[in-house]
Amino acid sequence: MRAIIHVDMDAFYASVEQRDNPALRGKPLIVGGHAQRGVVVAASYEVRPFGVRSAMPMARATKAAPHALVVKPRFAAYAEASEQVFAIFERYTPLIEPLSLDEAFLDVTASVGLFGTPADIARRIRKEIADELNLPASAGVATVKFVAKIASDLAKPNGQREVRAEETVAFLAGLPVSRLWGVGPKTEEALRLAGLKTIGDVAARDLDWLEDRLGSSGRHLWELSQGIDTREVVPDRAAKSVGAEDTFDEDLVGVDALKPHVHAQALRVARRLRRAALKGRVVQLKLKFADFTLITRRTTLREATDDGQTLYRAALELLDKSHQGKPLRLTGVSVQLDEEPPQLGLFPAAAPRTAKLNAALDKIAERFGSKAITTADIAGSEATDSAEHRSERPVDKGGPKD
């Protein structure tokens, strides 16, 4: 039996803004880009009753809540806060699976002897985040990942909820089927037509019946409805790839406009690789165009690297070949990690000069924050930091949509 905590920061970007600027506290706040063309990046709890949600066009959000205060996002500040939050997680377990800047799974099974029950650990983490960083966080505690995630969602804002193993099935039973991982609008409709509205309805059916109607996903849904979820918490160290991406405030066109973002993403990925002592050879660039079509392009480096400039050069080559001069709303850089057990070499390779440079840069960033030192092309721009993402083992595909 595992002990999983899902920690999710509450309205993270908005909370950082409210913390750093007392004038914003307790007010309806929208963090977002251009008033006409941008999207909402975050909405404080005070503005949510008016229907404002992240990813909503700014024009619509300001119409729905004309009294709301609007600030431009400061990604560097959020990345900094995120690193501090993850540093608190690391006090309790090395098994941390980041889902984004403000959200992570923690496997605390082995930490119970040291720090108390999983619920105690969740409480301590939230208290330390509140005391040291002055930010609200919610947590879900369960024996499997997807239940922990649902629990944290139900505990929001600034709360926590534990679902014990024996309570799991009953806890799930009353929830709508759309809460299950892998249930999108299409499956939801199919289930509704079959008369299944709640997870309890699914659990009450037998497996064959579900498999007849839904094929292989029938088994998956049935298992989830029973609280069965075999996916483990996969820290970066065990991940298949490490990546960073960001959605722009407004669509960008042309290599010159995109370069700083891709550069910042490459540097960020490299920093995470080095922190986890990992290297990778396969570099992937992800592009989402204004019309939401998504393409990925990959290239294989001669040897595995954890150097940001090397990743940037590879990503830039891919970008040159694939941006087509069309407006883009997102770029992402990721590296597939070397999986082979590493073969040792006969001739000790002199550490490349970049390794020394990177070690020095990492030390500076560790002491003074990630925005203390960066390359000239991205200095002072919003591109300094970007949302993180990580790909999981194939079995983890199709996780929940937030």
């Binding site: 999986e339 082979e340 057990p341 040792l344 006969l346 001739f347």
Partner: protein
């Protein structure tokens, strides 16, 4: 040009060309062989701008001359002729009539004048070498040549004459190394070793394999090698560069030394490697009291274990290796037993015949 030749003789000449001619090239003529009819015989030349082979064959020459022909198609034709004799006759516009018994072929050729000229290496001081010895040395090193084209220095075998009348050949891909030292007396007049490229070495091996007992000569000049045996001359361009300092990576003697039955070890590695993860061939080799234990595990399949009894006293240790690397060495080891020297998880394993380091292989571990 017109001549009559035994089909088998022509087949032999064209066979020698098959490994050299380049089919995927921007110079189409490099897919061809140059056929030259002289008084008393013909020569067939294959050349890829780096390696050239000139093969001489007896033929009844009716009219001297030269033409180039597709190495592949003419080889295929010659293998399927109805008669033991074949006549080649050049027609207008470099067409060539090939006739044998009832069969006729009219083949498009290209002008002999367009064929690139082979470098003349007559100044190379030739040394008579034992074909069998040279063949053995190639077989004992070729497997360790790197196939990573970005490390072109390692894409060949280092040929290094010693002061003792012996020659050392060394190959490494950066993960493992094979060294063999054999008697090849004679003065090659080399200041230091030279690097023979893989393709040239493989052609040389093929030519030696034809008749290892034939009188062979080898020499070096400028940045080329010259090989001669009766009826055949081969030239090749050498790899230009500094071979790594291989001596430094060969340990003197490992901490733990075991004598292992060669065939047992080879077979055991083969079966256990079936279960290594992702075709990496990773196996773990463990030493415990009087046992060598080979294990492998694959998250998708399961585990495998085999135990060899042998004489060992000392601390237990487990080291990961690429089984392929060890098997490559064992496959060319002639003794029944092999001496296997191990250090720790980060130190190379060394294989050689018991009490004889003239053939030594060094294999770096894998982190498993």
């Amino acid at each position: 040009m017109e001549f009559r030749i035994a089909a088998d003789e022509l087949k032999k000449a064209l066979y020698r060309a098959q490994g050299i001619v380049e089919r995927k090239t921007t110079m189409p003529i490099l897919a061809n062989v140059l056929v030259t009819a002289n008084k008393g015989g013909i020569t067939v030349t294959a050349f890829d701008l780096d390696i050239g082979v000139v093969s001489e064959h007896p033929a009844e020459v009716i009219k001297t001359g030269a033409v180039t022909l597709s190495a592949k198609y003419v080889f295929d034709i010659v293998q399927n002729l109805p008669d033991a004799q074949v006549t080649l006759k050049k027609l207008a516009n470099n067409y060539v009539d090939i006739s044998s018994g009832s069969a006729h072929f009219k083949i498009v050729g290209m002008a002999a004048e367009e064929y690139p000229k082979l470098p003349k290496e007559e100044n190379a001081p030739l040394v008579q070498v034992g074909g069998n010895t040279l063949l053995e040395m190639i077989k004992k090193t070729q497997f360790a040549i790197s196939s990573d084209e970005t490390r072109y220095i390692l894409n060949g075998v280092f040929f290094e004459p010693q002061s003792t009348g012996k020659v050392r050949m060394v190959a490494t891909d950066g993960h493992r190394l094979a060294l063999v030292e054999r008697e090849l007396p004679g003065d090659f007049k080399l200041k230091s070793g030279v690097i023979i490229p893989r393709k040239g070495l493989m052609e040389l091996k093929r030519l030696l394999d034809e008749a290892p007992d034939a009188e062979c000569h080898l020499g070096f000049a400028e940045n080329s090698a010259l090989f001669k045996k009766p009826g055949l001359t081969m030239v090749m361009r050498l790899i230009d560069g500094q071979f790594p300092e291989y001596q430094r990576v060969i340990p003197k003697e490992g901490e733990k030394v075991v004598l292992v039955p060669k065939v047992r070890l080879l077979e055991s590695l083969k079966r256990i490697a079936l279960l290594s993860a992702d075709k990496s061939n990773a196996v773990r080799i463990g030493l415990e009291e009087n046992q060598l234990i080979i294990t492998a595990s694959n998250p998708d399949l399961g585990e495998a274990k085999d135990v060899l009894e042998l004489a060992y006293r000392g601390n237990g240790i487990t080291i990961g290796f690429n089984a392929r690397y060890l098997m490559d060495v064992l496959a060319v080891t002639e003794t029944d037993e092999v001496s296997f020297e191990l250090g720790d998880e980060h130190s190379p394993g060394v294989l050689h015949a018991p009490g004889d380091r003239s053939f030594t292989a060094v294999v770096m571990p894998m982190r498993v």
